[in-house]
């Protein structure tokens, strides 16, 4: 089955952890993930400036490793990210900000990427919504 996964909760929320575990299980079960889309506070899961205490799960790092290892399409909503100060090099330069906190494998893009994934997938699975 082809899954699209949307994540709306911040990096340390239990629902963000469940999203990663679901994504891992989906691939382990032989399914396909057409795209991960991070929206609202979900953009913090792609924030590489988050420092997690050593005895806690470093979810942003685990997401990064997971997406890189499986060469997944990981998209962070650009409008939601800008609003929350989660910028890649291009946006940091555009808005003259000093902090760059998103890099590959993540791509900043628009909501069209969510709709595109919804059309492409058999199922949209959402985590961390209201």
């Amino acid at each position: 089955m082809k899954f699209a996964i949307a994540l709306f909760s911040a990096a340390h929320a239990p629902s963000s952890r469940r999203a990663l575990l679901f994504a891992q299980a989906a691939l382990a079960g032989g399914h396909e993930i057409v795209r991960l889309f991070f929206y609202q506070d979900g953009v913090y899961n792609a924030d590489n400036s988050i420092v997690t205490p050593q005895d806690e799960q470093d979810l942003p790092r685990q997401w990064r490793t997971f997406v890189s290892d499986h060469q997944l399409d990981g998209v962070v909503c650009i409008a939601a990210a800008l609003r929350r100060g989660v910028l890649n090099a291009e946006e940091a330069q555009r808005y003259q900000r000093s902090a760059i906190s998103v890099e590959a494998p993540w791509a900043l893009s628009g909501l069209g990427q969510l709709h595109d994934a919804i059309q492409d997938a058999d199922r949209l699975i959402c985590f961390g919504g209201a």
Binding site: A6, F8, Q40, L111, G112, H115, C126, A130
Partner: protein
């Protein structure tokens, strides 16, 4: 055929960017001509209250975006009757035209009718 999406909007308009960001998903889908429905549930109904004064909160008014829904081709607009009753909201005083007021059983059928659902 394009897959249909139902967005269930549950957040009040001034509790943060949530309601606006939920609406942005709907407007973006409308701009792509996708079949989209929007259901206002729970505190989401407050987005449709008349006489809001966003300026008093130093916020940007959400109602202009809501009024733009038909222009974006989003015409399947629903409100939950129970949510309205719980909050003492008269559904005929809500600010969007052509809202369909649905009871719990209708909402279950509505969710069933759409291919995908996002609740925000």
């Amino acid at each position: 055929m394009a897959k249909s999406l139902l967005l269930i909007s549950r957040q009040s308009p001034w509790s943060g960017p949530g309601a606006r960001e939920a609406l942005d998903i709907v407007l973006a889908g409308g701009a792509f001509d996708l079949p989209i429905g929007l259901l206002f549930l729970d505190d989401g109904l407050f987005q449709l209250s008349a006489g809001q004064n966003a300026k008093a909160l130093q916020q940007k008014d959400l109602s202009a975006n809501l009024q733009a829904l038909p222009m974006f081709g989003v015409e399947d607009l629903f409100v939950c009757a129970d949510s309205a009753a719980e909050r003492g909201i008269a559904t005929d005083a809500l600010t969007l035209d052509a809202l369909k007021v649905l009871g719990a059983a209708d909402i279950a059928a509505l969710i069933d009718r759409y291919d995908q659902v996002i609740t925000l």
